[in-house]
């Protein structure tokens, strides 16, 4: 298994140092010992072998075209990501939170959903949103918070909403989307609609109230939910092994009577296979699965964060050598499915497309002053009508051209 995770590495060390429990007649083993859990696949699924062959047990049997298309999504996501960081550094956008290093986890899982399935995002999943069909321009408008931004410039960059693409709404408070996604899928189940909900969150979010609530309701009501835990090693500066005493995050499935599975989150096909199995199981009415995708956040937490303050370059470098995009490209190369020329074309096209979008976004007007008061309620109550009138009649803030 090449895709070991910093959490797990630390844990094995812990396990060695833990004292023996008093064993007077009970059948317990150490909580820190590795053991098979009911419903949990412990050994991370990996599909692409070093020699380029696929583990037949888990091979999702994608066509060459599908694999190439997915690879191109990964590359495209990466390029947009890097370019947005640059724009932030230039002061042209205020913030970006990206998915560098987590492309396989995000795109592999999103691709494993069926068209009718809904995706409930955390905040690193713009790649999935674009793959689902949101025009790049709309996403870039969101990054600029201009008048064309689908959320009308009301939220920070990367807090998009994608209902037309069967894609939820990003909010900052950690974990809240988990319970909502469970309710969403539960409603579909009540309506007997064939629909699964995939919800994303980081391993840090497993500590939130709402992970507990969402997973517990999912277990009791057997909702068609796939909990996609991106274990990227860090919650800002807190390492995964300080987030929970459990051996793995997938283990937490046991507490709720749902299925758990771990996969190599930097192996696109492994993520696809693990998620696909979970989607199919949910669609068959067999309930929810907690997928722990073992990956790594290669960038800072966001553009506001400097990861050098809390983690070693050696750790980052080790993970860079497992770069999911590089790994998948190598796999495609072995099969003769891709080449540098195609990649260069894709990169250039994406960069050009993005540059156009940025240009348009920068040229677009700011949201109107009036728009600040819309959508608080379906209709403006008297107090908001008054406040709107006050704002419109009053002087403008500096730098606002309205």
């Amino acid at each position: 298994m090449s895709a070991t995770n910093p959490t797990q590495e630390t844990k094995s060390t812990n396990a060695g140092s833990a004292a023996e429990p008093k064993s007077n007649g009970g059948t317990a083993v150490q909580p820190t010992q590795r053991g098979a859990l009911p419903g949990v696949i412990h050994e991370p699924i990996r599909v692409i072998r070093d020699d380029g062959s696929l583990d037949p047990a888990w091979d999702p049997k994608l066509s060459d075209a599908q694999m190439v298309a997915l690879y191109e999504q990964m590359v495209r996501t990466r390029i947009i990501d890097e370019r947005l960081v640059t724009l932030q550094r230039q002061g042209r956008i205020g913030f970006h939170i990206g998915s560098l290093g987590e492309e396989a986890t995000i795109l592999g899982s999103a691709a494993a959903c069926r068209p009718q399935d809904w995706i409930w995002p955390c905040y690193r999943e713009f790649g999935a949103l674009l793959m689902r069909g949101m025009p790049l321009q709309a996403y870039v408008d969101n990054m600029f918070g201009n008048a064309n931004d689908p959320v009308k410039g009301r939220q920070m960059p990367d807090h998009y909403s994608g209902k037309p693409y069967k894609f939820g709404s990003v909010s900052s408070p950690i974990g809240t989307q988990i319970t909502q996604a469970v309710g969403f899928g539960w409603a579909a189940k009540m309506r007997k609609d064939d629909l699964v909900t995939l919800v994303y969150f980081g391993e840090g979010a497993t500590s939130s109230n709402e992970f507990h609530n969402g997973a517990n309701f999912a277990g009791v009501f057997k909702t068609p939910t796939v909990f996609l835990c991106r274990n990227n090693g860090w919650a800002i500066s807190v390492p995964a092994h300080k987030q929970s005493g459990s051996q793995t995050f997938a283990d937490k499935a046991v507490a709720y009577g749902i299925h758990g599975v771990r996969c190599d989150g930097n192996d696109l096909l492994a993520v696809y296979a693990a998620t696909r199995q979970a989607v199919e199981r949910a669609a068959r009415g067999e309930g929810a699965t907690l997928v722990e995708s073992l990956t790594y956040r290669l960038s800072g937490h966001s553009t506001s964060d400097d990861p050098k303050a809390y983690r070693k370059d050696t750790e980052v470098d080790a993970w860079k050598s497992k770069d999911p995009n590089v790994r998948f490209r190598a796999f495609l190369d072995k099969r003769g499915l891709y080449d540098d020329k195609r990649q260069t074309t894709l990169e250039e096209q994406t960069a050009a497309e993005l540059a156009d979008c940025v240009k348009a976004a920068e040229a677009a007007p700011l949201p109107s002053l009036e728009s600040m008061f819309d959508d608080v309620y379906a209709e403006l109550p008297w107090h908001l009508r008054e406040q709107r009138a006050e704002l419109l009649a009053g002087p403008r803030a500096k730098g606002h051209g309205h």
Partner: protein, 324 residues
């Protein structure tokens, strides 16, 4: 017209709407088989089945969080929180999510549900079965808050709340769940949101109140009338957005106002009512707007009748304000 108490009227509204609109689902702790600890959902489980009347695990965050998700899917959930005091584990889902969903998604995701919960004191419930948390929600943009005082309004306001496009917190004053009785039409009708009721006309001063304290205010007003003071008593019914016109019209007439509420005084809705009156009709004021409220302590058990702003505490303020 049948006589009903508040519990029956709310139950009637729920049943009616569940029949009419198959998107409506009820969920919460003990709402199913046993029909809620106050029996407000009695009989619904038998009539509509466990898919529409759902006993949940003991988690308010889970109840509201999943209800939001259901609403986003297109259902119309009516979660019950067993006591208003237990709404706080769900506070994050309500104030960070439910209240902001339509706005933050640029209008893509209206998230419509009605949260029902019993509030208020007077049933010997102590700290945790007596509170009136309205102002903690009214401060948060995006929520509507309703609080009926009689069975007719309870049914009509609940039906209006369910059909309103925005999320509504429906606070049921538990002290008068069974005590408040009256005629309630069979079948469909609504009482519009954001319209107050002038329950007692008067010319000397205005009393703004809601919930169980309405009856205390009326009691005090009747006693004041014996001293020649005629108080106009306004039942807000919808606490937010409140009916500013009715308040202002009355205060312009009387020039004097007393706000009465159970919740602690400080930063209660009463302070907002006073501040609004200052903004809207300051020059009509002939006496300082006053508040008679719960004290700024946790809700006590033994002394609850001393804590609550009952008639005996309201009356002196009516006299003081009228004679100012």
């Amino acid at each position: 017209m049948p006589q009903m108490n508040m519990v029956q009227a709310i139950n009637d509204a729920l049943r009616l709407e569940m029949k009419r609109d198959d998107r409506v689902v009820v969920l919460g702790e003990d709402v199913g088989k046993v029909g809620g600890v106050f029996r407000v959902t009695a009989g619904l489980y038998d009539e509509f089945g466990e898919d529409r009347v759902i006993d949940t695990p003991l988690s308010e965050g889970g109840i509201i969080g999943t209800a939001i998700g259901m609403a986003l899917y297109g259902l119309l959930p009516i979660p019950e929180i067993q006591f208003g005091d237990f709404i706080f584990p769900a506070y994050d889902q309500i104030v960070s999510e439910l209240a902001k969903f339509r706005y933050r998604s640029g209008g893509e995701y209206p998230s419509k549900l009605v949260i029902r919960t019993p509030v208020g004191g007077g049933i010997r419930g102590g700290h945790y079965h007596s509170q009136s948390p309205e102002s903690q929600f009214i401060h948060v943009a995006g929520l509507k808050v309703v609080c009926p005082t009689n069975p007719y309004d309870a049914k009509g306001l609940l039906l209006a709340s369910i059909r309103d496009p925005d999320p509504v917190l429906f606070f049921e004053p538990k002290r008068i769940y069974r005590a408040a009785k009256g005629e309630v039409p069979e079948g469909d009708y609504t009482v519009p949101l954001s319209k107050a009721a002038v329950v007692r006309p008067g010319k000397h001063l205005t009393v703004v109140t809601w919930g169980a304290m309405l009856y205390e205010a009326l009691d005090a007003a009747n006693q004041a009338a014996q001293k020649g003071i005629e108080a106009e008593v306004i039942d807000l019914r919808t606490l937010w957005p409140l009916d500013i016109d009715t308040i202002v019209e009355s205060v312009k007439k009387t020039g004097r106002v007393v706000v009465v509420h159970e919740a602690p005084k400080t930063c209660g809705l009463g302070s907002e009512v006073v501040a609004l009156i200052n903004e809207k009709c300051f020059l009509h004021l002939e006496a300082p707007p006053a508040r008679v409220c719960g004290f700024d302590t946790p809700f006590p058990y033994t002394l609850e009748m001393e804590y609550l702003p009952l008639a005996h505490r309201i009356l002196p303020q009516l006299v003081t304000t009228a004679q100012f």
